[in-house]
Amino acid sequence: MSEDSQILFGLYVPPHPQPLLSPDANAGYANLRAAFETCRKRIEESDADLIIVYSTTWPSVVGHQIQALKESIWTHVDDDFHYLGSMPYNFQIDSEFSHEYCSAAEKRGLHARTVEYEGFPIDTGSVVALSLLNPDNRIPACIVSSNMYANRSETIVLGKAANDALVSQGKKAVVVVVSSLSNRMFTEHIDPSEDRIHSSKDNEWNEKILEFFADGRLEDLSQLSREIHGQIRVQKVVAYKPAWWLAASMGQHNNYDGEVLAYEALHGSGGAVIQLTPSSGSFGDKEFDEDDVEYYQGDRNVLNKGNH
């Protein structure tokens, strides 16, 4: 663990339900499931106090939402993959931490709020991740949304606020980003045994991103996020944000031991289970011109300027 981070290690996992609901339908799904289980054991062997999940499949509009209901119980069904089965869950949430995270985000200029409602629809990605990584609720969790309008500044600040809250409460965490690499799925139903990455281009980009992860080059990936978004992300939201949040929460540098535990196709998208552990070594010789940001200043009111 680096001096200024309370994060023991970070995980990057896919949101799709196949590793949870149909791991035997394809050798690749089984491989992803095995990688999730390896990560589960590593979390159990760590002395983490909680798991913080940043999920790209929980979009928010009104600021940044943070799950705070102490016991979140429901049975979730995915919009597309409902035929694979239901996902009952019972998650223990570190409500005290969630409130601290919300407060830390507000102190950095973000609009944030906690949600504490029975029956709140926890998203597929979070349900898959927590069901596989923390099946017995050995440690509590916190889940944070991905605001659909937020871009780099907000996301960087949101990541830093997670670490602020950990420092404030003296807690140690494992952070989990739930996201595909390339996210273009096949638009028809397929035989799972024939699953593959949607295109060679997506696969080549995924392989390049995995090289960076394996080398521990998290800040390099953060700086490449806009390019990644343009190249291999379906344009559902304004930006590819997971590496921004992960780097901002864990530390914006390349001093990590990276391990790619699995990389497989999930209905055409790129699904990888990756671990990044803070280390003392560094990689790369690049500097970047995307400025760092500590405090979110809000909209710049561009639309209302220059028209007088």
Binding site: W58, P59, S60, V61, V62, G63, T75, H76, V77, D79, D80, H82, Y83, G85, S86, H111, V115, Y117, E118, G119, F120, P121, D123, N147, Y149, R184, M185, F186, T187, E188, H189, V234, Q235, K236, H267, L303
Partner: protein
């Protein structure tokens, strides 16, 4: 069996704020009101619906988003609680609704015949989306008619607004064939806002109407342009400019609902009935309907 028909097509936006403002017993949250222009418009359209003989409501919703084809609800009953993931403070609604599975299956079959990827949704734990619930509650608070919910396949995201239009047209035409074969009288509902840029902060009291306004003037001007075309029966022209409109206003038309409904109704050239326009957390919302019956069609607003 006589030929089935579409007896009304409704543009029915689904901000959960409107149900919240009504304080129905199904919703847990409590409000002091708000957004009356839309709620009163909905009430008037709901009264019109009570005067019409129909068998089912078929609703196309942007909040059941599917990427692998178009899906249809395929079980006769759904009973659960819908909590809006974006506005959980406003919408926690206990629903108990019936589905016209026979009609859903007929649409599924015709859609597949048209070459569209499609799937029936038969998981009993599936939670019906809040767009369906909001629009249906406001149009028919007594919930005394079965519904068919159609998911929105996100062609705009995967391809372009132009592809979305072509797919939505094909879906609408297929649904119309299924309705005609069914012998049923059906109300279509396209559930969405017009311009769809939200404010990302919320007033401490969400129903504080002193805080409510459109996100920016450009969105308002575009919305007024589209509504004028509705009034003038220029739906073919609306379809033509839809890609530009959707891009310029981040409109919720991106899901394809309006095009689906217009295609099913043969792209009406008669005027729409306008029931109201108002912003909700910055988005532009219009309640309108297309009544194919010349004798009952009104000039409402």
């Amino acid at each position: 069996m006589s030929k089935g028909e579409i007896v009304l097509g409704c543009l029915a936006p689904h901000p959960p704020h409107l149900v919240y403002a009504e304080n129905p017993p199904q919703n847990e949250a409590f409000s002091e009101g708000g957004w009356e222009t839309l709620r009163w418009g909905y009430a008037k359209l709901a009264r019109k619906l009570k005067t019409i003989d129909y068998d089912a409501i078929v609703i196309f919703t942007p909040h059941w988003q599917t990427y692998i084809g178009t899906h249809f609800l395929g079980l006769p009953e759904f009973k659960s609680k819908s909590v809006d993931p974006v506005f959980p403070n406003l919408f926690r609604y206990n629903y108990d609704l019936k589905v016209d599975v026979e009609l859903a299956e007929a649409m599924h079959e015709e859609t597949a015949k048209a070459g569209i990827i499609t799937k029936m949704m038969r998981n009993p734990d599936f939670r019906v989306d809040y767009g369906t619930i909001t629009s249906c509650h406001l149009l028919n608070p007594s919930w005394d008619k079965p519904i068919v919910t159609i998911s929105s396949n996100r062609n705009s995201h995967y391809y372009s607004n132009e592809v979305m239009i072509e797919q939505a047209k094909a879906l609408g035409e297929a649904c119309m064939k299924a309705i005609e074969k069914s012998g049923k009288k059906v109300v279509l509902v396209s559930s969405h806002s017009l311009s769809h840029r939200h404010f990302v902060t919320e007033a401490p009291l969400p129903e504080d109407m002193s805080r409510e306004h459109i996100y920016n003037h450009s969105q308002y001007v575009w919305d007024m342009k589209i509504i004028d075309m509705f009034r003038n029966g220029q739906m073919k022209e609306v379809v033509d400019i839809m890609p530009e409109y959707t891009e310029q206003t981040i409109a919720e038309t991106e899901a394809g609902g309006l095009i689906w409904m217009m295609a099913a109704m043969g792209v009406p050239s008669y005027p729409a009935e306008i029931y109201g326009y108002q912003s909700v957390i910055g988005t532009g919302n219009c309640i309108a309907c297309w009544d194919p019956n010349n004798e009952t069609r009104e000039l409402v607003l």
